[in-house]
Symmetry: C2
Subunit: 345 residues, 2 copies
C-alpha cells in the first residue's frame, strides 16, 4: 500500500509529497467519457461496481497517490428527499428546494447504511483492489444548505444568503440536520474502508466573516468532529473562506486544510505557523491549459511555497472538464520531479 497520503496527513516524513487531483475521475478522461456514453451520471453514482470502476480510473491511468470516491456532495440532499437531476452541459439541479419550515420538516431521516447503502458498497468494493488510500467525502453543512436553498450552484448564492438574513432560525434548523447527516455519512464512509475523509465547504466564500462564523463554522466543526472520531484524518476544503485560515483549523480540528488557488502558499503557511495542520493544494486548475514547461515551473513554486513536510500536492479546485490529459500527467510528473534531490526545473 502506497501510504504517502496517510503520512502527509499526519505530517510524518515523506520521500516526496503525495499528489492527487480534485475531480480526478471526471470528464477530461476519455475512459470516463466512454463510461458516461453508456450510463447516465446517476446510474454510475448508484451502481457500486461502476462507481468503484470510475474511482480507480485515475489511479490506473495516471498513477496518483490517492483515489477519491466517485460520488457527489449532493447525495446527502438526495438522501434527504430532494430530487437530483444531472444533465450534460448544465450543473446538477435539486428539485424541491428549501424555502420554509415545512420544507425542512419534510426532509427524510438520514441513516447512511440505508440512505446511501450503494455509496458504502462502492467503497467496500473499491478498497478491495486499491493500492492507494481511498478518500471518502461529504459536502460541508453550509454548502449543502446553500445548494438546497438555491436548488443549484450559483455565482454568489444570493438566495441562500437572503434566507440566512430573513429566516436565521430556519437556517439554523436546516444546518443542524445537515451537520448531523454530513458527520454520520463521513463516519460511515470511514467504517466502510475510506482511509481519509474530505469535507467540501465549497460555498464558504459567499459569506461575510460574521456569517461564516455563525452559519458555517460551528456546523462544519460538528461534522469534522464526528468524522475524526473514527480515527481517520480529515481534510477541510473551504475555498474562499473569508476568515483567517487558522480560525477554520482551530474551530474544526482538521488534520489537513485545503488551500484554493487564490491563496499564496507561503502566506497560508505563515498564517498556520502555530497550527498542527497539513496543507493540500493549490494550483489554479486553469493553469493546466498552459504548456507543460509552465506547469512544471508553477508546480515547483507551489511545492517550494508549501515545503515537503505535511503537504499534499493538488489543484486549488477541481480539474476542468476540457483539460488535456497530457497536462494532468505533466502536473503529476512535476510533483515527482521537483521532489528529487538536485532536480532541475
Amino acid at each position: 500500500m502506497n501510504d504517502l497520503l496517510l503520512r502527509a496527513c499526519r505530517r510524518e516524513p515523506v520521500e516526496r509529497p503525495p499528489v492527487w487531483l480534485m475531480r480526478q475521475a471526471g470528464r477530461y478522461l476519455p475512459e470516463y467519457r466512454a463510461l458516461r456514453a453508456r450510463h447516465d451520471f446517476l446510474t454510475l453514482l448508484r451502481t457500486p461496481e461502476l462507481a468503484a470502476q470510475v474511482t480507480s480510473l485515475p489511479v490506473d491511468l495516471l498513477g496518483v497517490d490517492a483515489a477519491i470516491l466517485f460520488s457527489d456532495i449532493l447525495v446527502i440532499p438526495m438522501a434527504l428527499g430532494l430530487e437530483l437531476t444531472v444533465a450534460d452541459g448544465t450543473g446538477p439541479v435539486l428539485g424541491g428546494r428549501i424555502r420554509n419550515d415545512a420544507d425542512v420538516a419534510r426532509l427524510l431521516p438520514f441513516e447512511p447504511e440505508d440512505s446511501l447503502a450503494w455509496q458504502l458498497e462502492a467503497i467496500r468494493l473499491t478498497v478491495n483492489t486499491l493500492a492507494v488510500p481511498l478518500i471518502g467525502f461529504a459536502g460541508g453543512p453550509w454548502t449543502l444548505a446553500s445548494y438546497m436553498i438555491e436548488g443549484r450552484g450559483s455565482a454568489d448564492f444570493r438566495l441562500a444568503r437572503r434566507l440566512l438574513a430573513e429566516s436565521p432560525a430556519l437556517a439554523h434548523g436546516l444546518l443542524d440536520r445537515l451537520a448531523d447527516a454530513a458527520g454520520r455519512s463521513l463516519a460511515a464512509q470511514a467504517r466502510a474502508g475510506a482511509r481519509v475523509l474530505q469535507v467540501f465547504e465549497s460555498s464558504a466564500g459567499a459569506l461575510s466573516p460574521r456569517d461564516y462564523q455563525e452559519f458555517a463554522l460551528p456546523y462544519l466543526a460538528r461534522a469534522v468532529r464526528a468524522a475524526r472520531e473514527t480515527g481517520v484524518p480529515v481534510i477541510v476544503f473551504a475555498p474562499g473562506a473569508n476568515c483567517p485560515l487558522d480560525r477554520t483549523v482551530r474551530a474544526t480540528g482538521a488534520d489537513v486544510i485545503g488551500i484554493d488557488w487564490r491563496t499564496d502558499p507561503a502566506e497560508a503557511r505563515a498564517r498556520l505557523a502555530e497550527c498542527e495542520v497539513a496543507c493540500q493544494g493549490n494550483l489554479d486548475p486553469a493553469l493546466l491549459f498552459a504548456p507543460p514547461s509552465v506547469i512544471r515551473e508553477r508546480v515547483a513554486a507551489m511545492v517550494a511555497g508549501f515545503g515537503h513536510l505535511g503537504y499534499i500536492a493538488n489543484l486549488g479546485h477541481g480539474v476542468l472538464p476540457d483539460t488535456p490529459v497530457e497536462h494532468v500527467r505533466a502536473f503529476i510528473d512535476a510533483v515527482r520531479l521537483v521532489a528529487r534531490p538536485g532536480a532541475a526545473i
Copy 2:
C-alpha cells in the same frame, strides 16, 4: 451642493459618513421598473434624457448623498464592437466573444466622445439638476476582458482564466486595449461633469495572487492613473481580490478603496494603516432582507469598524433586485442615525 462624498474621498472631516448604494438605480425601485416596462434596457442606457432620469431616481426618492450614472460596465465592449444583449431574468450577453488574435484585431477604435457620446451627454444632462456629486464609472480592464472572453458573467470565469494560461500574449494585447479604453472613458466622464469616478474590477476574485499581479493590477493602475489626471478622486472596487488590499492601493494610487462584504472592516483598516486612502462599503447586500432592527445593528457595527473619517457608507456589492425599498431606507437612515453624537442603536 451636498459635498459629503467629496470630503470623504479626500479624508476631510465630515459631520457624518456619506451614504449611497451600488446599483441604487435598479430593479428594486418600483419607479425604475415602471420605466423599464416602457423602455428596454439598451434604450434607457442610450437615451441621455432617460439615463439622466434613472440616475436621479434614488437621489429624489431616498436622499442618498451621491448619484451614480445609470450605465453598465459592458458599454466599453459594446463600443469596441461586441454586441450587447440584455434580456430580463438572465444577465447581459456579449456577442462575438474574444478567442484569438483576429478577434482582438477586429475591435473598433475607441473614442469616448464618439463611441459613447450618449453616455457623456447623459452626464451633462444629469449634473445640471443634481444636488449631489455624480459618480462616473467603468469596468476594470481585467473585468472587461473576462466578460469579453466568456461572453457573459460567470461563477469562476474559467474560460477567461484558461485563455490567460493558454495565450498570455493575446491576453496582454487585449488588456492593453482595455486599459486605454477604460482610462479614456473615465477621463471623458470627469470632463463631462462626473465629480468622482469608480472602477469596478468585479472579476478580481477569480485570479490567483500571481495572475492578479500580472494580468489585473498593471492595467487597472493605468486606467486609474488616466482617470486621476483629471483631478477627480477615484474609487477602486476589486471585490474578492486575492492580494492584500494595500498592494492594490499602492499600485493604483486609488483615493478610495471599495471593501466587499467578505472583508472585516477593522481588518481592512488595519491592512491599510500605512496608506493614505479612504474606504467604501461593505454590508452584505443580502442583509437588507433582515428586519430593520438587524440592519441598524449591522450598520452600527460597520461604521464603528471603519470609523467616520475617510469613510463612505455603502453595501459590499450591488443592491439585490428584490430588496424591499423600506429596508434600503432603513440602511440609509441607520448611517445618519449612527453618526449622531450620543445616538442609541
